[in-house]
């Protein structure tokens, strides 16, 4: 039978195959769609986009669940003979049929404007697979402020573009269980932010994943941000030896002075170093009594000095002994020196103000969580102080304001645990939003261990596979239609798939992430090297001279 065309068809253009019709649901729970007999159930997947063509609007929706249903309980008790093809064709789709549950994510009105979902389509409206045009209407084109991070599942010719301005003006979370490609996702996001100049980044690079180069899962070497953006990225290192061994020439070797470590810097290490309240109180007392050199004095103090201390202050013996033992661990960190040559914080600030992102490599200290937390906390606290000062000084004069700064931290739950999030600088930054132009990019595999209030302030969440119920709940906290997305989130592939939701995208979207390959490097404007350069030269030669005449470049 010829398909009927309607005014809505004329307006919205050609449609992909019809899937079924809306048979029930609600605004809060989502919609039930009875599939047409011809719709192949096995070809549907959680996370796929569908469009409900209402009377005046398109409801852009995501498949969140798929169920089997039948019109009669009897059929389940005495299943028909499905080896008979005729009976199979008759029963399939009529008495026994598929139902998909879809979550309307946004509405496209008659003027092709995107609106939030405040209503639902009436009964029996047709549901179609989303077309490339539908995707493009929602996610727009890649431009100066929109960056392609991948393609929606099964529509790989389209692209999902995140709004970089919205991405960077609030904190971002990249979540996923171990081995699901969090660093890979983070590198793509950071590359987009740097390429488009949406923000300057300070990246605390725990495992040397972002700076110069990194080995991917196939053992091949991927370019780091410095290679992609030589003029826009600087590599700082805490471990010069490790950097040079890996062939990296760092722009700056970071050292921190013992005499600049304040008790506040230790607060963030409360759990990692098992510091009790009395130990921290002792640290504050020592700082007050001995001044800036309190750590070194404590570590080199003669027994009688410690005894005097115990007699003249409220510090108790066991706490002091334990504090000394904890602080002795710092002596293993070669980047901690009695006196620094330069001001690392100012050096980072200089780079940031000139629009250059800083990747701080931890080298061998990446495996020492206390070193990572100490340094990240130490630097961020001071940077933020200076940022606040600068912002306050430049009030009313936007030209004087420092650039938007995004700070990337890994193992974020160690900084943002509910017990310490209120005391650490990272909790403060996450809660302040964009007030002082500093936001976080937190990378973590245990989002449930991050303070709830902090999670609620994470504007955009990019989430690879998670299978822990608590983690899924934490990531979906505050998201409309979260129940449906749970199923999607728990069924992502273990590699190169993620769900993006929040501030930077108009609606939650499951993406096949963009490959981080030569094409990506080229799109980022990185110079070609090796075989890629040869291939490009050959192609250019052919363009210039044709197949016959050109024989150069080997």
């Amino acid at each position: 039978m010829a398909k009927k065309t309607t005014e809505i068809d004329d307006f919205f253009g050609p449609r992909s195959p019809r899937l079924g019709v809306v048979t029930g649901g609600s605004l809060s729970r989502g919609l039930d769609v009875k599939l047409d007999p011809g719709t192949e159930l096995e070809e549907l997947a959680a996370g796929r986009y569908v469009v409900v063509h209402g009377h005046q609007r398109r409801f852009f929706s995501m498949v969140t669940d798929i169920t089997l249903a039948s019109t009669s309980a009897q059929i389940a008790i005495t299943p028909p003979d499905m080896s008979n093809p005729f009976l199979a064709d008759v029963y399939g789709g009529s008495m026994a049929f598929g139902v998909v549950h879809i979550a309307p994510m946004l509405v496209i009105n008659e003027n092709r404007q995107i609106e939030p979902v405040r209503t639902i389509p009436p009964h029996f409206q047709e549901v179609w697979t989303a077309t490339e045009q539908d995707i493009n209407d929602v996610f727009g084109d890649e431009d100066e402020s929109h960056f392609n991070i991948g393609a929606p599942l099964e529509l790989l010719n389209t692209q999902i573009n995140v709004d970089l301005k919205r991405l960077t003006e609030r904190s971002v979370g990249v979540f996923g269980k171990s081995g699901t490609g969090k660093s890979y996702l983070t590198r793509i996001l950071l590359a987009g932010v740097i390429a488009r100049g949406a923000a300057v980044n300070l990246i605390f690079d725990m495992h040397n994943d972002y700076g110069w180069e990194v080995y991917n899962e196939l053992g091949a070497r991927d370019k780091g941000l410095k290679q992609l953006f030589p003029d826009k990225v600087a590599i700082f290192t805490l471990d010069d030896e490790s950097s040079r061994r890996r062939g990296v020439r760092p722009d700056f070797v970071v050292t921190l002075a013992f005499n600049e470590i304040d008790p506040e810097d230790l607060s963030a290490l409360r759990q990692t170093m098992d510091l009790s309240d009395t130990m921290l109180d002792a640290a504050y007392t020592l700082r007050r009594l001995w001044g800036r050199d309190w750590i070194q004095q404590l570590l080199t103090a003669e027994p009688h000095i410690l005894e005097d201390l115990l007699n003249t202050t409220t510090i108790n013996g066991p706490s002091l002994t334990a504090l000394v033992r904890r602080l002795q661990r710092f002596e293993r960190f070669k980047f901690l020196v009695p006196q620094t040559q330069g001001d690392t914080v100012q050096e980072i600030l200089n780079y940031i103000e000139s629009g250059r992102s800083v990747v701080l490599e931890f080298g061998r200290y990446g495996n020492a969580l206390e070193a990572y937390i100490l340094v990240a906390n130490y630097l961020t606290r001071r940077l933020r102080e200076r940022y606040v000062k600068r912002i306050e000084e430049s009030l009313g004069d936007e030209a004087k304001q420092p650039p938007q700064l995004m700070i990337t931290i890994e193992e974020a739950h160690k900084f943002l645990d509910p017990q310490i999030a209120r005391q650490t600088i990272f909790g403060t930054i996450a809660r302040e939003l964009r007030k002082y132009k500093v936001t976080l990019l937190v990378v973590d595999q245990r989002p449930s261990a991050i303070d709830e209030e902090v999670m609620s302030q994470v504007g955009t969440r990019v989430t690879a596979l998670l299978d822990n119920e608590k983690d899924i709940t934490a990531v979906l906290m505050g998201v409309n239609g979260a129940q449906g997305l749970r199923e999607v989130l728990a069924r992502l592939d273990t590699r190169q798939q993620a769900i993006v939701l929040g501030h930077a995208v108009p609606m939650p979207v499951v993406i096949q992430t963009r490959p981080y390959d030569e094409a990506f490097y080229k799109a980022m404007g990185a110079p070609l090297q090796g075989k890629s350069l040869k291939r490009a030269a050959k192609a250019s030669g052919k363009t210039l001279y044709g197949d016959d005449e050109f024989e150069g470049y080997g």
Binding site: P37, P80, V90
Partner: protein, 208 residues
């Protein structure tokens, strides 16, 4: 094409809005079949047409037949003469399944009025059968009629209707019809199973 109103197969004997009985000469027997769609006109307005499914064709005896079955030597000529000139007609029952209204639209519902006695009854052409069976609303009338073997009648009708279609459409037609029947008989799997087995296209070539 022959005029579709030529050559009636019989004439209405008794009628009601739910169906009618018609009588025909025994010579018509070869053109009648269980499940066929027949038509008649219920009024003097020739735009109105009543459609129904033929069922329960029966041949009653008459006094001469009763005598002849007991006779010892009956010639072939006598038998032929009895068949041609017998005084009791072949009787057929028709279940009303729809009508064409004065506006030309086919409605698959009980007709507004029954046909009058002696109204001629005709077989539908293939084109008319196809047109009538393009929609399946009449299934409910057939399956809910208490006086007819519903599944048997509907199945016979569907197999005939399939054969009026091009080979490439026959299988899909039967599948669509089967799905509609499944919708209506979802609470009675035994009847549905019976119906589906009757229309299983073993005679109609599967052209998928």
């Amino acid at each position: 094409m022959a005029n579709e109103w030529d050559d009636p197969i019989g004439y209405v004997l008794r009628s009601s809005t739910s169906g009618f009985s018609a009588g025909a000469g025994l010579t018509q027997i070869d053109s009648l079949a269980f499940g066929m769609i027949v038509k008649t006109q219920p009024s003097t307005d020739t735009r109105e047409v009543l459609y129904g499914l033929l069922y329960d064709i029966h041949i009653d005896d008459d006094p001469l037949v009763r005598q002849l079955v007991l006779a010892e030597a009956v010639t072939e000529e006598t038998i032929r003469d009895q068949r041609v000139h017998r005084i009791a007609p072949v009787e057929m029952s028709v279940l009303a399944t729809g009508y064409r209204d004065v506006d030309g639209q086919i409605r698959q519902a009980l007709p507004p009025r029954p046909p009058i006695s002696l109204a001629p009854v005709y077989l539908c052409t293939d084109a008319e059968s196809r047109e009538f069976t393009d929609y399946f609303d009449y299934f409910r009338l057939v399956l809910s009629a208490s006086q007819v073997p519903g599944e048997q009648l509907l199945a016979a009708n569907l197999v005939r209707a399939a054969l009026t279609r091009p080979e490439s459409e026959q299988y899909d037609f039967l599948v669509s019809a089967g799905r509609e029947a499944a919708r209506l008989l979802s609470g009675d799997m035994a009847r549905l199973d019976n119906l589906l087995r009757l229309i299983y296209p073993n005679r109609v070539r599967i052209t998928e």
